[in-house]
Amino acid sequence: MLGISTTATAQKSFELRSRIAEQSGNLNQASIELSTGFKQDAYKDVRGVSGETLSFRAEIDATEAYVLSNSLLSRKMDSISDSLSSMREQAGDFSNLMLSGDIGGMHRDVLRSAAKSTIEQITSKLNSSYAGSYVFSGLASDTQAVVQNADWTVTYTGDTTGSLSARIDEETTLDYGVRADDPGFTNIMDALAVVASTDLTSLSDADFSTLRNSTVSAMSSGLERLIEIHTSLGDKQGVVERTAERHGALKSIYSEAMLNIEGVDAEEAAVRLTSIQGQLQATYAVTARMSEMSLLNYL
């Protein structure tokens, strides 16, 4: 007698159950991916490149950190640049004042008090701080750059070992510091101190003229140096700006590479979700029908 091959009842229901379980799992995965935009298991879906996506993420993190740190640096440099501008302006104003008018008609007292106020203004600029750190005192950002003495001279109290620097990307360290003991400042301050501490009214015209000439010459060499410093700072600000642009571009490259690995195409995930939903509904319908089908119903 030929045997009849049948499907076992338990196996039939087991198969339907495992199919539903599998489809539910897929549905769950599709819905998670659709809502997060990331693969549920990035390591699984991109075999072999899982280390890569972690590297991309590390690059993104580092780039973001540089962007943040450079934006702080850029603001700090702006503030140094602003101080330099105003110090240049004040020193320049004094030089102009000294050169203006003929010697005899000049109010020498006014000149002297102008020298005093210029010293005070520049000193306060040299002692300016950014975010709680003194910026003209070299590496000793916790000490004032200069102290004004009774004789109108100023003494540098900062650090003499180095200059402020920052790492602006993986390769470049930028020295951007400007120190108050730079000859640019000391020339100007020394010249101003001489004017401020001399009784100008008692000087003969010839002596005054000599003093004026030496002061103007010292001031202009100091100013030239300040222009040099300012220009170089401007160049460095340009470097930071260009680095920021490059970092912006880098970040989008890395993000794209990372999303290529970890990201999920929203349309694809939505289509997948719909199709799995359809399958699951069909399986439910079949399961319900099958469970109703039994010889028992006809006995």
Partner: protein, 465 residues
């Protein structure tokens, strides 16, 4: 011949149908019992009477063997997958930012921010906090592996116990099968029990089972070591100190000789214990070593020469790398929670160093991209610190993914065999109901024969009276 023969035939028919209905009802009631095989009644004619020749189990030796092989394979792979997953769950997805790679990257970011404003207490604290997060995650991962290791050790003991009791069960069944008469319901039931027991054993180790003519089963490991011969059991013993597994004194440790076995949950546990977990652990320790050694070399922050990370307070020591991942901590001199000061990461514990001197910070930032000088435990040569962390995280996750896909592939293949086996051996209720209808008809017919013959006899008696 004659009316009495008809009576006896009808009675034998009734008896046969009662056995048939017994078997059909057994089949129906056990339709959902795992390991139950469908029974059929073979009938024979004995001198005109119908008799039950035997109760047959519907089995295929080939399918059973294939199915048991798949059970072993699947069970081994599942065990490996579960063990690996228990650890990799702590590594998380790339977007979770819980892996050593993500936390090291986080430390680097803090370090970059710090190098730009070394005199800012906030920036210093950010570095120390990120460093502490990294160190404690390394400790946690190391502890997780240790937990998994002790679970594995415990499960080996459980599996050995289960295996021993199953082997004794097989021996006991062998004894009963030997006594039971072939073709009886009892014999068929004992063989069902044997089948179930062999499946349990297959889940633990892959075995070769050979049946003698009367259904007694001998068991050998796939490598040929005897486990059960007739009613004799070769006891399985596990020595936790040496990690050696023996059967009746013969070494059957998986991976430790050709007389052992390679599949089943016990093989999976040994693979976890002897290969996978020590591998993970060694690489975590190497990662910790690279970090402790690197910071100590490029940027000592305390006068004793220690870097940002220490080996439980001590210096890096190339001879004690094992277990370093569990001991790595942030130098307590830099940790405000332990009475330290974050300023040491800027001035290296030298108060004379100006506040905005960023040389230590720059060395530390550069360290992340410099080649690691300690052994990498197989992660690769000429790796930077950052690459080492990403490679390690990726490798460990890849191990899980491989284990998962192997399990999935085996499970798909196994489902086909298992479905064929179940369809062949299992019960189809509709089919049984149809058989029952036949039995019912046959019973009714035999009963009708009986009453008719009875009427005939009555008629005869009345005629005689």
């Amino acid at each position: 011949m004659g009316i009495t023969a008809a009576l006896s035939n009808a009675v034998s028919g009734l008896r046969a149908t009662s056995v048939q209905s017994d078997i059909v009802s057994r089949n129906i009631s056990n339709a959902n019992t795992e390991g139950y095989t469908r029974k059929d009644v073979s009938l024979e004619t004995v001198g005109g009477n119908v008799g039950v020749a035997s109760i047959d189990r519907q089995v295929s030796g080939l399918l059973e063997r294939l199915d048991r092989g798949n059970i072993s394979k699947l069970s081994g792979q599942q065990t490996v997958m579960e063990g690996v997953t228990a650890y990799t769950d702590y590594l998380g997805q790339p977007s979770d930012k819980t892996s050593p790679a993500a936390l090291l990257s986080n430390l680097k970011s803090s370090m970059i921010g710090f190098s730009g404003s070394v005199d800012a207490g906030g920036a210093q604290l950010a570095v120390v906090s990120s460093a502490k997060e990294f160190a404690s995650q390394m400790n946690r991962l190391s502890a997780t592996i240790q937990t998994v290791e002790s679970e594995v050790e415990m499960n080996i003991r459980y599996d050995v116990n289960d295996l021993n009791s199953s082997l004794y069960e097989v021996a006991k069944l062998n004894k009963e099968i030997f006594r039971a008469r072939e073709g009886t319901v009892l014999h068929a039931r004992l063989q069902d029990d044997m089948g179930r027991e062999l499946e349990v054993i297959a889940g633990l180790v892959d075995v070769q089972a050979s049946s003698s003519r009367n259904g007694m089963v001998s068991l050998l490991t796939s490598g040929g070591s005897e486990l059960v011969r007739g009613v004799d059991v070769f006891d399985i013993e596990y020595d936790g100190m040496t990690g050696v597994l023996t059967a009746g004194g013969v070494n059957i440790t998986p991976g430790g000789g050709n007389r052992s076995f390679s599949e089943g949950s016990l093989a999976g546990l040994f693979e976890l214990k002897d290969e996978i977990l020590p591998g993970f652990s060694g690489q975590l320790d190497a990662m910790a070593a690279a970090v402790v050694e690197g910071f100590e070399r490029v940027a000592p922050i305390t006068l004793d020469g220690r870097g940002l990370f220490t080996d439980a307070g001590g210096a890096y020591n190339a001879t004690t790398i094992e277990g370093l991942a569990s001991r790595i901590i942030v130098n307590s001199a830099a940790d405000p929670d332990l009475g330290g000061s974050t300023a040491v990461i800027q001035n290296g514990s030298n108060a004379a160093v100006p506040l905005s001197d960023n040389s230590l910070a720059l060395s530390m930032v550069a360290l992340f991209n410099e080649p690691v000088v300690v052994p990498t435990a197989g992660l690769g040569a000429a790796l930077s610190l950052m690459d080492m962390a990403t490679t390690m995280t990726g490798t460990h996750q890849q191990k899980r993914v491989s284990a998962e896909s192997a399990t999935k592939a085996t499970s798909a293949a196994a489902a086909t065999i298992s479905s064929s086996k179940l369809n062949l051996q299992g019960v189809n209720i509709d089919d049984e109901l149809q058989k029952l209808m036949l039995v019912e008809q046959s019973y009714a017919a035999n009963a009708k024969v009986l009453t008719t013959v009875n009427n005939m006899l009555d008629t005869l008696m009345n005629a005689v009276r």
